[in-house]
Amino acid sequence: MQNHFPLWKNILILAIFFISLVYALPNLYSEDPSVQISSNLTTVTLKDQSARIEAAIKAAALPTKAFETKDKQILARFNNTDDQLKAADILRDQLGNDYTVALNLAPTTPTWLRALGADAMYLGLDLRGGVHFLLEVDMDAAVKQAEERYTDDVRTALRTAKIRYLAVVKDPDFIKIKLKAIEDKPALLALLSKELRTLNVTEPAAQDQVWLKISELEVRDIKKSAVAQNMTTLRNRVNQLGVAEPVIQQQGENRIVVQLPGVQDTTRAKEILGTTATLEYRLVDTEHDAQQALQGHVPVNSKLYYEKNGAPILLNRRIIVTGDQIVDSSSGADEDGRPSVNITLNGVGATKMGKLTQANVGKPMAVVFIEYKVDTKIVNGEKVRHKEKVEKVISVATINGVFSKRFQTTGLDSPQEARNLSLMLRAGALAAPIDIVEERTVGPSLGQDNINKGFLSFIIGFVAVVLFMVVFYRMFGLIANLALAFNVVIVVSILSMLQATLTLPGIAGIILTVGMSVDANVLIFERIKEEIRNGSSPQTSIFAGYEKAFATILDSHVTNLVVAIVLFAFGTGSVKGFAVTLIIGILSSMFTAITGTRMVINWIYGHRKVEKLSI
């Protein structure tokens, strides 16, 4: 029998159809604006808190749709975005630092669908609103920091090994050691090969010197871990901001993509993400005169800084503790009501701080606030990235007693500054400064607009094609339309299953697929018409039409696919979304247009004598 499918083939096609229908289904359900509360503390169970949260929302007379408590978070659903925003503000105020309150869109998919793992498509930022940042990690600064650390390490190692040196200095190329006595050189080399193996040793002509450089391998490691550590830090900071479903991904060698759905306050987001603010604690050098240092006589073991009021101050080169030894911090006010940051150190930091304060009671200690600012300027038509490390001493205080793990820092300008600083210290310092090189913000109104417009043009385009096909191919056109609808269902269900991001160009891709996927059917139908003209019987014409058109369809679709894959490989952001829908559309249209229509045509025309085809 020519036009007949075996039973298994029919069942397979129908099964695929029903499975895609089920997985496409969640997209029909809308999403509730909701507030998601999770705790940063491990000791508190949220169950105890849910009553308190419910009461807080009730007190503000905000109607809620539902309350859900899942293992680690509470979800409150609201009727509209206004209520959601108000509730989030109230909860943030009442719950304080220990809880993260995030805005979210909670799907209303019924449980039986969710149990199957069926979820709606993930909407891109251009459809749901939000911010997209592309951050560039400053690799040079990361390496420079490492060089500074090594310089310190070399000094310490020399001192411990009792090798006397005149200077250990870092210049752009090398860390240069100048010895006091040439006789110590073998001992120095032995020490270096034992304890500082990651450094490459160069022996210059000057016999009393040894130059060191970080090895290539080590530099690569430093860069890699700078990006990795920055990503961790960014993730922490984003969590502090309270964003549901953030995306933080590495892109290329030194760039990080951060996407914050639903965030509108970009200024604050930028402040939190971009600043590399950190603190350093150093002893004040009281033995030398800062005024003299101003004229260029900076003592070897000290460094010149400026206080907030512009006064010069000399600080010891050795850092007591740095920002990465801070495990927790919170903002508050000291006894006099000045904004302050309460700091908790980790074990290593606490030991260091304890030892130092014990030995230096009565001496002044300074807190240095470090911030990196990056600008792109255009000089003589050339783009020049200008980087500035801003270091200022925010407070100098006398060590009154021994402290180690917990203490307070004052000297900040405003409570806002204290809050931001404590947030950043809590989230960890960035390993290397970052620079925002791309930003795209989409307001929520535009997002909804884009969805509506995309959907409208999809419907109109779809209907136009459907009418067109019926007018030109009658019954066969109708069958092709069934396949077309089937194709759209498959595309949507695959996008949902993959949890691929749907963007506006992605919708355009689906629309384009609608126009292009009938191509296969047009090819087949034209071939069938031709066969009929050549005098073949209807049954033979159908068979030959499908058979002969197949090679053409395959070739033309594969070339199309090649282009779509290239587009996917090189596209970024929303363009990638376009490529994804195009790829899925091309593949699934081959299936539906060839196999799907064949099945229906076999049902209608197979098994019987056909005089004339409605084509």
């Binding site: 792109t376 417009k453 995309g454 090679a551 090649v562 282009v563 363009v575």
Partner: protein, 286 residues
């Protein structure tokens, strides 16, 4: 084609901020926006080079800023918003802000160029493998024609060329090839079936055989693109324009350029006489 190249050479393309770097701000108002007033305000605070224009509707305004010297580019958008909110009675609602650093712009342009290059290469190889190198070259020339003419349209009307348009151009390459391949496929088949017919006639017959299909498919694609152009919103306006023109030129080129090119390159039946066993793969497929 000549007009397109001339325009590209003389006027160039109006590159969007995706490639040049810069800042783009779209704001919306409840009532029609006073573009002239906004322009004046921006001029007063030192943004004389800003372009301000309506976008889509009279209520929406698009402000474009070039990458600036000496100013921290991150703060630009806040400055602009602050300034325009002072002058207008009603605060603008921010619909979208895009900032692209100059470095990223260069990278995106490079990626775009590479994408064009690799897709062309991929096609050359695939068609050469499935057909013959003369066809392959003919197809690539026809595709190049489409791309250049479409770019020419963007240049003549000074439409903004951004990432989505680049995506449109690439999609167009895929589409136009699709068309070309169908014709080629028919030529190959005719070569085998009609051994005694002169090459030129074979091509003619092939083009005629596939003509109704070419027009049908182009029509359906054109229809959906028209829907996208009219109802899809201003954000993907240029995307749909690129494809609309592209489809027209693509259809034209696959009929009038692709095959003649293969002919000029000296295609002859012997080139395609290699017995390819198509039947074997078709048996497995319905």
């Amino acid at each position: 084609m000549i007009i397109a190249i001339a325009s590209l050479a003389i006027r160039g393309l109006e590159m969007g901020i995706d490639f040049t770097g810069g800042t783009l701000i779209e704001v919306g108002y409840q009532k029609a926006a006073d573009v002239t007033a906004l322009r004046k305000t921006l001029g007063e605070i030192g943004f004389a080079d800003a372009t301000v224009q309506n976008f889509g509707t009279a209520k929406d305004v698009l402000i474009r800023l070039k990458p600036r010297e000496g100013v921290n580019s991150n703060d630009l958008s806040s400055q602009v918003l602050e300034a325009i909110n002072k002058t207008t009675a009603e605060p603008a609602s921010v619909r979208r802000v895009e900032f692209v650093g100059p470095q990223v712009g260069d990278d995106l342009a490079e990626d775009g160029f590479l994408a064009l290059l690799y897709s062309t290469l991929g096609i050359l190889i695939y068609i050469a493998w499935r057909f013959e190198w003369k066809f392959s070259l003919g197809a690539v020339i026809a595709t190049f024609h489409d791309v250049i003419v479409t770019l020419g349209v963007f240049s003549i009307f000074q439409l903004e060329f951004d990432l989505t348009v680049l995506a449109a151009i690439l999609a167009l390459i895929g589409y136009s090839l699709n068309d070309t391949i169908v014709v080629y496929d028919r030529i190959r088949e005719n070569f085998r079936d009609m051994r005694d017919t002169p090459t030129e006639d074979i091509m003619n017959i092939a083009v005629n055989d596939t003509l109704s299909r070419t027009i049908m498919t182009s029509a359906t694609v054109f229809l959906v693109l028209l829907a996208l152009f009219i109802w899809g919103g201003a954000v993907i306006h240029n995307f749909s324009i690129g494809l609309l023109f592209g489809v027209v030129f693509g259809t034209y080129s696959s009929i009038f350029i692709a095959s003649p090119m293969a002919l000029i390159l000296g295609i002859c039946p012997e080139d395609l006489m290699v017995p390819i066993k198509e039947g074997s793969e078709m048996d497995q497929m319905p």
